[in-house]
């Protein structure tokens, strides 16, 4: 299998105010192959979300490099980072990050808007992704009125509408009961069977020891410990 993501000597320091600095990551090295399913685990504040955010080019490392398909995405100017995200990344955020007063369909449309595709193509993509993630029956419902599980399915559908190679999920089951969590795992399994590279940051034991997960990586105090 070929390498798709590489983190090289990543350090991330957040400057809070003038004098306080928080070291979120320290000298992190990580290689991920195409099609792998990775679980990032670790206690709260250990740096899991920070890693996902760096891979998605939502923030830049203080030092070190993030390479995706050999491209230094940690050095991309802002506009190119947006294009990179659009074409490669499906991000399922911890709080879903949906726009609450838009409908399901309108939220899923968001990543497609800048592409300015023709109407029938857009409809086709949205319908198919809504079906795949079982939210088509609520397509015109305003997201604010959905249950937590439904909101998450919207978030997953939105993350997949551009058919990205890489899926990032941050604490995906934090707000779900066990049944819905297992359903989420099913959906990840399905994405895995489509050869997507998946990285899930979680401390939910439900994810530990799954057979389709290739590696569990533990973060502690901004460092990889296993």
């Amino acid at each position: 299998m070929s390498k798709i993501i590489e983190l090289k000597e990543i350090t991330k320091i957040y400057e809070v105010g003038k004098h306080e600095r928080i070291q979120a990551l320290e000298n992190v090295n990580l290689k991920i192959d195409e099609g792998e399913v990775i679980i990032l685990k670790g206690v709260s504040g250990s740096g899991k979300s920070t890693i996902l955010s760096l891979i998605a080019a939502l923030s830049k490392p203080t030092s070190g490099e993030v390479l995706v398909e050999e491209k230094k995405i940690s050095k991309l100017p802002d506009n190119f980072a947006s294009i990179y995200r659009r074409d490669n990344i499906g991000f399922i955020f911890q709080k879903y990050n949906l726009i609450p007063n838009l409908s399901v369909k309108e939220n899923i449309l968001l990543p497609l808007i800048p592409l300015n595709l023709n109407g029938s193509k857009v409809d086709e993509k949205i319908q198919s992704v809504m079906k795949r993630f079982h939210i088509a029956h609520k397509q015109n419902t305003i997201v604010r009125n959905l249950s937590g599980g439904e909101q998450q399915r919207v978030a997953i559908a939105r993350a997949n509408v551009n058919n990205p190679k890489i899926i990032l999920a941050d604490e995906p089951t934090a707000n779900l009961d066990e049944k819905l969590s297992l359903h989420f795992i099913d959906m990840m399994h399905e994405l895995h069977s489509q050869k997507k590279t998946i990285i899930i940051a979680t401390h939910d034991p439900l994810f530990f020891g799954l057979d389709f997960v290739s590696r569990e990586i533990e973060i502690h105090n901004g460092k990889i410990v296993s």
Binding site: D78, L110, I113, P114
Partner: protein, 403 residues
């Protein structure tokens, strides 16, 4: 070829983005409706003030241009006195003078209504110093009017007389206290409303009778000069010839008219400043920052792959739609208000004059400059005030905005 252009157009105009912008506006409909109303009102106020100013300026210009080039008055102890008609012939001898006409006219105060009429004497077979008077002498024979003891009145005068139950004639009180009954022989259309709504035209002899004028004297003498550049020279020659006169030239009149107007425009300036002030309050409010929800939305859009310019384009559409529609509505309302309704309330601030003159209509002066000026004062400023804070948020690291 056309199809090609269509495709190109489709590629540059992103309808999804426009749809999103409209949607975003509707999601905050109360706030945006409020902004829309304020912008519309300000555009309306600003445009109306400009429209009225332009109309009045136009009206005054045509009034001033219709004024005589030189007026010769006789003065004694600083007050005007009747001037000898015989001086007309002397003035005509001055080189450069093309005509000199003795005018017999005066103000008649009508106590019942508390207004002044301007009564002007007309001699049918002499040169008229005004085109509008010449037109009136074509329509009415003042020799005939003299025999019938009749007059021709402006519409405003007619109205005032009717209100006092004078429908067919009017009784003028002469200086000796006796009455002079003059029948209304007709109505004349004034050149400009502002100027002559209070005017009565009468055969000269009747005016002399009503004001008890010496038959050898006139109110003043109007002088025409062939070459407008020679007005000052001719004026000083007349002054040399008759030391007891005051010479008023078009320029002097222009200045005094302009002064009346400039005084008025001070009031506008105040209005103008108030509206600009309000506008900047809106701008300040907008540019002082976005709400945390608005910030988060921008962060989300960037996280799902929008570029900074996609975000800015969307904000541009949003602010353009609001400001352009309120601009158009404001201008439309103002056109109706000023030219159809004649600008009630606002107009009174500009036109104080006599009661009679409040009846005049604002002439339609279509002025692209005004429209452009108001446009540039509202639309781009509003758009910039929307774009700048959005741009600030959009260029931050997306991670920080959505966290």
């Amino acid at each position: 070829m056309q199809y090609h252009i269509l495709i190109k157009w489709r590629n540059t105009i992103n309808l999804y983005l426009i749809e999103y912008a409209i949607n975003a506006m509707l999601r905050q409909k109360y706030k945006n409706f409020f902004i829309f109303m304020i912008l519309t009102f300000l555009t309306f106020l600003l445009t109306s003030v400009f429209f009225i100013t332009n109309s009045i300026r136009f009206e005054l210009d045509s009034t001033v241009n219709a004024l005589p080039q030189i007026i010769v008055q006789k003065v004694k102890a600083g007050k005007g006195y009747d001037i000898e008609v015989a001086r007309v012939d002397k003035i005509l001898e001055i080189s450069g003078v093309s005509d000199a006409i003795a005018r017999v006219w005066g103000y008649y105060y009508f106590e019942n209504a508390g207004v002044n009429f301007s009564i002007v004497g007309i001699a049918q077979y002499e040169n008229q110093y005004k085109n509008s008077f010449a037109k009136v002498t074509e329509k009415f024979d003042f020799e005939q009017l003299k025999e019938n003891s009749s007059m021709v009145v402006g519409c405003g005068v007619m109205q005032v007389m009717r209100n006092s139950y004078y429908k067919e004639y009017f009784n003028f009180i002469k200086p000796d206290g006796t009455l002079k009954k003059v029948t209304i022989g007709g109505i004349f259309d004034a050149d400009t409303n502002l100027e002559s709504n209070d005017m009565i035209l009468m055969p000269e002899e009747l005016v002399r009778e009503i004001f008890d004028f010496d038959p050898l004297k006139a109110t003043d003498i109007v002088v025409k000069v062939a070459n407008p550049k020679e007005i000052q020279i001719v004026a000083s020659k007349i002054k040399l010839m008759f030391a007891d006169t005051r010479i008023i030239t078009t320029n002097d009149l222009k200045v005094s008219y302009q002064n009346i107007f400039d005084y008025k425009s001070g009031i506008f300036l105040a209005l103008f400043i108030v509206s600009i002030f309000t506008f900047f309050i809106i701008i300040y409010d907008k540019s002082s920052g976005l709400s945390s929800e608005e910030k988060k939305e921008i962060g989300i859009l960037k996280a799902v792959g929008w570029k900074v310019d996609d975000v800015l384009k969307e904000k541009f559409y949003e602010s353009f739609i609001i400001s352009f529609f309120s601009y158009s509505l404001g201008v439309g309302l103002s056109l109706g208000f000023v030219y159809l309704l004649n600008a009630p309330i606002l107009r009174d601030i500009f036109v104080g004059y006599s009661q009679l003159k409040t009846d005049f209509e604002l002439p339609f002066v279509f002025d692209m400059q005004t429209l452009f000026l108001v446009f540039f004062l509202s639309v781009p400023i509003y758009i910039a005030a929307t774009l700048i804070p959005s741009w600030r948020v959009a260029t931050l690291e997306a991670d920080e905005v959505i966290r």
